[in-house]
């Protein structure tokens, strides 16, 4: 609208333009999207979902914030260097299958067990979740870095 107003000669309208609706909605929708992303992440292995889709959706949620605000604000909201996230994700994704050598089992052999938790009852634990967490972190950070690199302002 700013450019449309400029074309019609309303230069003074510049100062009044702001994105109240977009910024307020982005904060709400960000929570919903990031929650759905973690839901997809934990739903994997038996139902549709998993680390890859969850990571892509987490990156999409951060991109929504990046569109509504700017880079500086996102850096203040999420004070993490995303290259470190890639590194830690790759460490998870590579280190966990390698750990199975220590137990004398073939590469990528996963362990699972059931434990009793007072409130939740019988909970299944699986070591594939840690591998998927690595995939999640790597995909989220990589997608975010690529999209920001492609779409940032040239100045």
């Amino acid at each position: 609208m700013k450019q449309t107003l400029k074309k019609t000669g309303h230069d003074k309208a510049d100062r009044q333009m702001n994105d109240v609706f977009l910024q307020f909605t982005a904060k709400l929708v960000f929570l919903i999207v990031i929650m759905f992303s973690f839901n997809l992440f934990f739903a994997g292995h038996y139902t549709p979902g998993g680390g890859f889709v969850g990571g892509l959706l987490a990156a999409a949620a951060l991109i929504l914030l990046l569109i509504a605000y700017d880079k500086k604000t996102l850096q203040r909201m999420v004070p993490i260097d995303f290259r470190l996230i890639i590194t830690s994700g790759l460490t998870f994704a590579v280190g966990l299958p390698t750990l199975s050598f220590l137990f004398g089992t073939p590469f990528f052999t996963h362990q699972h067990t059931h434990i009793e938790i007072p409130v939740f009852g019988d909970v299944a634990l699986h070591s594939a979740v840690l591998f998927d967490l690595g995939v999640f972190l790597t995909v989220a950070a990589t997608a975010l870095l690529i999209i920001v690199l492609v779409g940032e302002a040239e100045n």
Partner: protein, 99 residues
Amino acid sequence: MTTFLDIIIIISIIILAFAMLGMIYRMVKGPSLHDKVVALDALGILLMAMIALMAMTLRTTYLLVVILLIGILAYIATIAFAKYLEKGVIFENDRHDND
């Protein structure tokens, strides 16, 4: 076993497919960029409707996640296109700096 509902669903899928063809025509041909963006958004919504009908045909609930995913991605894509059309830039470095 084919019920009346199955026939209706198949007819609806065919109608949606023709509507999608129209949207793709508008996306390729559209006179201005705005027409293309609106057609892309509508194509996403038609895709969601088609997947919902497909989930009814297959009698599964696994596809509902896909519908929500496409909805979120189409929403973000529409916002990004709208900002690009108005401002000419998608990601700003500092919002209060350049104007």
